[in-house]
């Protein structure tokens, strides 16, 4: 399989063009939803039935409690109903899901990770997929956006302890943003060849003597939100490599576009809400620069086609789909790991070693380019505060961010945010490689075995969900440990972000002075870019050098 540079350049150009065209109108719409005051009649009915008072706003601690309680209830419900699959309708004759898999999957889908420790075709019936997992695809994506909206309000508001109403934000983002976009995306997908029915079809080819059972299911409706909500949990085991999830190169490009769509429009909404569009442009500029850089790096690493088996095959092929080509697959692999998506259209485990390494680095950046729905923007805003702090140290002033003082409390929360994910990744991966369980469940040899473990925990703690699929995580130890990584990697950062939002909202706005470091423009953008890359490099370089770097550079 040849890597077509012409196709790569064309696809990147088309994607950039479309995203640039769409990000402004979508950003304006997103901001109008986030700032909306009026509820529709259907929404008022919804609030009444759910027992929500849409007119009260919450303090940061109540807002946070709502996030945590809602996620905990989601995890419990998804867990219990998976266990009961055997006696529920729509189970496709499958039994209840085993407790370890059910636990891991419930956490995985409620945290927007969508790590799949199960084989969907053999584990999950239509009810579980459609009524549990697909619903979490919407809601976990909405929760991510909700948290960044609260942070933006914290930055924009002054002298208040109110951050908004979690339930109202969750409902509006689900029903006014994700649902209509998913409907449009699903219709395009069905027309493009993605399946949407409720039955399988037995086919008999008299000439060749082959009989097959062609699977069906509500795939397009799930695929649309799986991609749009940067979720990534496939209806089928092969995920977006499966012809029924991703039938051709056009739909594959459309999926990449959808992955990047909301995260790259959120900065515009942010600029609008803080009343300074330059802030949004700077953030999206950094996101775009990182995206382009790592997309090119991935393409280079894929096109290099390293590996003894790759060489013996005469080039790329293992794990690739002939119908997408290597250019599209390298673009997809980057988009899915620079966001919290984790859908795959090429088997990441079989990528050339340095390409697998780039996928890991993409996640280790904290998935900020443009990142998961909501989580990408709050991740980058945290890094912007770190950048302001570093710049403040250089000029000897108290750091400020958009008129808010970054004092000791704010800085402690920010520093903890920066530390949480690397600590979780390195601790869980480190403990795991010391235990016999990992050796038994990651059957690869040499540095690649370590890469499989490192990838699993990087993916889990960053709520990505893609995998080096050679590792089997369905046993009690690995399903628990990856479950813990997903929980900590999702909710600890959210706690810190909402605490930060609360403390920023309380402050008055101080006017910019000659000592204020501007948080927009080329200079600050470059600083933010540098901080993002250096943080990642410092945290993960030793681990990377034992895995993909060792495999890629030594062979």
């Amino acid at each position: 399989m040849v890597f077509s540079i012409a196709s790569f350049v064309t696809q990147v150009a088309v994607l950039l063009l479309l995203l640039i065209l769409v990000h402004k109108p979508l950003g304006v719409y997103l901001a109008s939803v986030f700032e909306g005051k009026r509820s529709s009649r259907a929404e008022r009915l919804f609030y009444r039935l759910a027992g929500v008072d849409p007119n009260t706003e919450q303090s940061w601690s109540i807002y946070l409690r709502s996030v945590l309680v809602f996620s905990a209830v989601s995890i419990l419900v998804v867990f219990l109903l998976q266990r009961l699959q055997g006696v529920l309708p729509g189970n496709n004759s499958l039994p209840g899901v085993d407790p370890w898999t059910a636990m891991n999957t419930a956490i995985s889908f409620a945290t927007n990770t969508n790590w799949q420790t199960y084989v969907p075709e053999a584990t999950m019936g239509i009810f579980v997929q459609m009524c549990l997992l697909a619903v979490q695809n919407f809601l976990s994506a909405a929760v991510g956006i909700v948290v960044v909206v609260a942070l933006i309000r914290g930055i924009a508001r002054t002298r208040t302890d109110r951050l908004g109403n979690f339930w109202v934000d969750l409902a509006r983002i689900s029903f006014r943003v994700l649902l209509p976009m998913a409907v449009l995306a699903a219709i395009v997908m069905v027309i493009g060849g993605v399946v949407q029915n409720f039955w399988s079809t037995d086919v008999v080819n008299q000439a060749t003597g082959v009989t097959q059972t062609i699977p069906g299911g509500p795939v397009a409706s799930q695929e649309a939100i799986k991609i749009l909500g940067t979720n990534g949990g496939g209806y089928f085991n092969a995920n977006s490599a499966h012809p029924f999830e991703n039938p051709n190169v056009f739909i594959s490009m459309f999926e990449v576009f959808l992955i990047l769509l909301i995260p790259s429009a959120l900065p515009y909404a942010y600029g609008r809400m803080v009343g300074d569009q330059r802030q949004g442009y700077t953030v999206v500029g950094v996101m775009g620069t990182l995206w382009l850089t790592f997309t090119v790096l991935m393409a280079w690493a894929v096109a290099a086609a390293q590996g003894t088996a790759t060489a013996a095959a005469g080039g790329l092929g293992e794990g690739f789909e002939q119908r997408f080509g290597a250019a599209q697959s390298s673009i997809f692999a980057t988009a899915t790991t620079l966001t919290s998506t984790g859908a795959i259209n090429v088997a990441h485990d079989s990528l050339p070693p340095l390409a697998g390494g780039v996928a890991m680095v993409n996640m280790m950046l904290g998935e900020v380019a443009p990142g998961g729905t909501g989580s990408g923007l709050y991740g980058l805003l945290i890094l912007a505060i770190v950048s302001v702090f570093i710049a403040g140290l250089m000029v000897g002033r108290t750091p400020e961010f958009l008129g808010k003082k970054i004092g000791p409390r704010e800085m402690k929360l920010t520093a903890m945010y920066i530390l949480v994910t690397p600590v979780v990744v390195l601790a869980t991966a480190g403990i795991t490689v010391l235990l016999p369980d990992a050796v038994a469940n990651a059957p690869a040899s040499g540095p690649h075995q370590f890469s499989e473990v490192l990838y699993a925990f990087t993916s889990g703690a960053n709520n990505n969900g893609s995998a080096f699929g050679g590792i089997t995580t369905s046993g009690p130890y690995l399903s628990t440990m990856t479950g813990v990584a997903m929980l900590l990697g999702r909710f600890l950062p959210m706690v810190l972000v909402l605490a930060l939002a609360g403390s920023l909202a309380k402050q008055p706005k101080i006017p910019a002075s000659s000592g204020t470091v501007p948080t927009h423009g080329w200079l600050f953008g470059s600083l933010l870019l540098g901080v993002t890359v250096i943080m990642t490099a410092l945290s993960y370089f030793p681990a990377l050098s034992l895995g993909p770097l060792a495999e890629g550079l030594l062979k």
Binding site: F70, F138, V190, N205, G319
Partner: protein, 203 residues
């Protein structure tokens, strides 16, 4: 505020919210897409099922359909699809998930290469990469133009057709234009074998 009753009340709200959201997002939404799909694009929505003259379902145009023995050797009468970690079972999609330096993958690639070279009667160096590597889904229906061309003499002979006739069928099933530029020129084996069967019904 952060008292136990507060948590419980919010858990009740969460449960009701989740239930109501499930009705909209987990039932109404997928059913609406189902309805729209059946109205607008029933062929695609139901799996791109190809039917014979009598209307019986024969294959899915999107899924590899392979006649192979238990050892995984594909039937020499027909065009072969790529190797598959799923043994071409539409109900068990999977990749091999073997690393690029994995000795098991190296062995598999070498074995595939000699098997393809022997089956087609060509030099091992003439066998293209897609012929010896498994796809990400295990169900990829497409192969490279080079691999299709390699198989033309064998299939033509097996069906008593001229190589030119079979090559013309390959050309007709070769992806062209924008799709070929963005992806690569490829041939859908499932559809190609249906063409071959139609042209040589005696077999």
């Amino acid at each position: 505020m952060n008292t136990l009753p507060g948590y419980l009340r919010q858990a009740g709200t969460a449960l009701r919210f989740l239930l109501l959201a499930t009705v909209v997002l987990g039932l109404i939404y997928p059913l609406a897409i189902f309805g729209i799909g059946q109205a607008v694009a029933p062929f695609q929505a139901n799996g791109s099922i190809v039917r014979d003259a009598a209307g019986k379902p024969v294959a899915s145009a999107l899924i590899a359909q392979v006649s192979a023995n238990d050892a995984g050797t594909q039937n020499p009468l027909w065009f072969h699809a790529r190797p598959s970690a799923a043994k071409w079972d539409p109900g068990a999609s999977t990749a091999s998930n073997l690393g690029p330096n994995d000795p098991k993958l190296l062995d598999a690639v070498k074995a595939n290469r000699s098997a393809v070279a022997a089956a087609e009667g060509v030099k091992e160096s003439d066998v293209p990469a897609d012929a010896v590597t498994a796809s990400g889904s295990g169900l990829d229906p497409q192969i490279s133009v080079a691999y299709a061309r390699l198989q033309v003499p064998r299939v033509a002979k097996a069906h008593g057709l001229s190589p030119e006739t079979v090559q013309a069928m390959v050309d007709r099933r070769t992806v062209s234009g924008l799709e070929a530029f963005l992806a690569q020129p490829s041939v859908n084996v499932t559809e190609l074998n249906l063409d071959v069967a139609a042209a040589a019904p005696a077999k």
